[in-house]
Symmetry: C2
Subunit: 327 residues, 2 copies
């Protein structure tokens, strides 16, 4: 199944079922919002499945064409957003470029809690205080969860994964090292994220959903130029392990969004990167200096994931940078 | 004004106006929950003020006696919980005990985002995975905010402070250094916080509300023994400065809760501490070893703030530790 949330003047929008090709939508029965759907999933999933099949068969009454104009993030706000960093190549490249010990990831997942009271619409303009903060995108995969009890182990965790999403985790790179050095983690350097329009059930990925990993290339284009096609299959920790880490000392509420961290591959010479900071690290290692600039006012990033059959799985993130301080 | 939220079977409870002495309550008019009240404050504050005055005069129809049995946290869940660390003595003591450079706080506030989908009731049992994680309380003051626009400066920030609260920020100390070393900050080491029953407007503090600081002693008792009476007046950064820090690159939604961090005083020999970790640091500096144990199953912590006139300003936090792994 695929879900999409349309603007209706409320903070949470109106939940719709989207067709597999992302062209059509009908209002979801028995749930006004995705949060409500997640809280009543067991009771209603079969109803939504039927709506989905009717829509794909061209038989759903009242189907409307989906327009990017009124699409919100699938969950326009959530009770919790936990972001991991589960790709070892990303860690190794940044460690090497920054002259740190090249230890990669250790045996504990890295994770922080980020802003979740607002997720940007996939086509939204993203507002930032200043271009001097090093504005960067981060392409990553995420899962949206059912309620997870405290103490859940990794081997029991996959059952709580309801939906898979594509996320643009905006980052202000100049603030990152300052906030990391305090040990308190990231706050100012992590503004609101964007999410692609379609939240999909794992079965939509077919064989590309393996060991709770999204084994598909995440395409990134910066100002219409190819930037990366990194595959999610190299996640060191699966989403099952990230869930267990997150739930060690807390119950996770239904609607928790959990991120993989920047998707990154060991064949980065051909795959490229899904954030500017990683490309700058590669340039620094290779040339002794970073050559790619961070984003400026008006710059645009596009993110998309296609299935092996060439279908646009989540729809597009296409966001433009708006800098408040342009003196 | 004072607000209290009573259990009614819903996640957000039912908002009531409480009398100044915390003995009586009536359902708030025009808002079912505190979140709704914060979102409609300008329209309704005068109505609640009138309810409050009637209640204090003994003239409110339908007033009920407040019982600790059905009191929830004032905001049982919030869109955002940002916790600072604004007391320099606390930082200096821990730095000294841990053999780190004694630099105190620098000129940027320390802050992380914590779990906000659930705040424990003031009388709740608090569940933890294991006593080996170093279970500790942290007494601190907090403010609940109106919506704050991104980029708000400290000199404009005080106007967004709607309510003042007393918070017990539970911490798992054995996990703290591990999570700080990653630079990603705290996640597993910060389970759900408790909040005292009464959320009060700043005017209730009278002269004890100075420069957006709570200049009153925070009393802590551990298993009925006095543990600390630390005053909030030594906050290096006021709540106004913490708001500006938090809002640098994000809009803060109405209902954001912002914490001061562990209240701590330079005269700690007489004032004591508001967390065990700080007392252990003092013991380590003095005796070469920590002597006070972290909390065990069944241990109980009480927190209370009295005004200069001796009134119980926020009501009591009284929480008992429940450890899941008691083998």
């Amino acid at each position: 199944m695929k879900f999409v949330t349309l603007a209706n003047g409320t903070p949470d929008g109106r939940l719709h079922i989207a067709s597999r090709d992302g062209e059509l939508a009908v209002p979801a029965q028995n749930a006004v919002t995705l949060q409500q759907a997640l809280e009543t999933w067991a009771d209603n999933a079969s109803v939504w499945q039927e709506q989905y099949e009717m829509l794909n068969a061209g038989e759903a009454a009242g189907a409307q064409a989906l327009s990017s104009d009124n699409v919100l993030a699938p969950l326009p706000r959530a009770w919790q957003w936990l972001d991991g960093s589960a790709f070892e190549t990303h860690a190794l490249l940044l460690q090497k470029a920054w002259g740190q010990p090249e230890v990669g990831l250790n045996d504990r997942p890295l994770m922080y809690q980020g802003l979740s009271d607002r997720f940007l619409a996939p086509g939204a303009t993203a507002m930032f205080p200043s271009a001097s903060d090093g504005i960067d995108f981060e392409g990553e995969y995420g899962v949206i969860l059912d309620a997870v009890p405290m103490g859940t182990k990794a081997e029991d965790a996959a059952r709580y994964i309801r939906l898979v999403v594509l996320i643009n985790d905006w980052s202000l790179r100049a603030l990152g090292p300052i906030e990391m050095a305090t040990g308190f983690g990231w706050l100012q350097c992590k503004p609101a994220c964007g999410i692609a329009p379609l939240a999909v059930t794992p079965d939509e990925l077919g064989a590309a959903w393996k060991n709770t990993r999204v084994c598909l290339p995440l395409q990134v284009r910066l100002n219409d130029e190819e930037f990366g096609r990194t595959n999610g299959d190299e996640m060191k920790f699966g989403f099952d392990e990230l869930i267990a880490h997150a739930a060690y000392s807390r119950n996770l509420p239904a609607g928790t969004i959990l991120g993989s961290g920047t998707v990154s591959n060991s064949n980065y010479e051909s795959a490229g990167s899904s954030c500017i900071a990683e490309r700058r690290a590669i340039e620094t290692i290779k040339h002794g200096e970073a050559r790619t600039a961070f984003m400026q006012h008006g710059d645009r990033v596009l993110m998309r994931t296609e299935t092996e059959a060439g279908d646009n799985l989540f729809g597009d993130i296409c966001q433009t940078v708006n800098v408040m301080d342009r003196q």
